[in-house]
């Protein structure tokens, strides 16, 4: 017969779920066209230091 407090057991299960969620996060939604970000990107990009576009996609195999 288990002597574990049901409240403690429930809390631990909840914690397990939270840990699992933290270890397997879904990707957060992106935010675009932020003025502050664009300004900073322009400053950095103006010096040719930051790539502003992804690399050209490679042709698909097959």
């Amino acid at each position: 017969m288990s002597s574990i407090d049901p409240e403690v057991q429930d809390r631990t299960k909840l914690l397990d779920t939270e840990i699992e969620s933290a270890l397997n996060p879904i990707e957060v939604d992106g935010f675009y066209r932020d003025t502050r970000e664009c300004a900073a990107l322009a400053l950095l990009g103006g010096g040719g230091k930051l790539l502003l576009a992804p690399p050209t996609p490679r042709p698909k195999k097959g």
Binding site: L15, E18, E20, N24, L50, P54, P55
Partner: protein
Amino acid sequence: MDQSGPTTRLSDAVRDLAAQVVSALRSGGHSPVGGAFPPSTGDDEITVAAVRVLGADTLLPDALSFRPADPAAVALVARAVRAFPPGASPAPTTAWSHWAMAGALRRLAPGSAEPGGSGEPGGATAEPDTAWLEYAPWPVLTHQLAVLAALAVPGCDSGIARVAAARPVDVARGFVRAVRRRDWLQAAGAGRWLTLLDGVPDTLGLGTGLEFVGLMGGTDPRVVLHLRAAGLLRTGVPV
């Protein structure tokens, strides 16, 4: 009375722990992470859970300084490995983060390894599978690598590191995507991986990109932790 739920308390504890690791990294590893435990939660169970979430990065100052690990931090990581093992069919990132913690214990504190059972700290040597990641589209690859950025440390060979090493351009592409989506945690994690990879395009501007991520996302200690790790890897940590 504390009315906050476990989600908030765990998130806060993870951030507190990450901030402590950052502090230890900034001090050159002379300020042991474990010295400040337990963190502000004052809740032992939450603290151990936070260590499980932050994973092997709890021992990052020791991993990067290549000196004997702090016993308090080692004890906490060992407790977290024991207390929160992967389930019967764990998600890949859960299995890999657990493997990374056990591996860190093996490398940094061999004495903590207990012979026998795979559930014991330092005892689990078999690598989890990587098939789920090898052919993943580049956005998925980058997201998953960022989640597992604790594996991006010198001297830590793993299947995940080999997958990353085989796809540097895809990781670079994912880094740019994360920056443009303003996902600073993913960008920092991907940037940390990129510092370890060969074949990263020079046109990426990784150094400036990481600086930008710090500028925009530097209020999150988890972001700062990855950036600090990346900075140390780029500028002279012995490998």
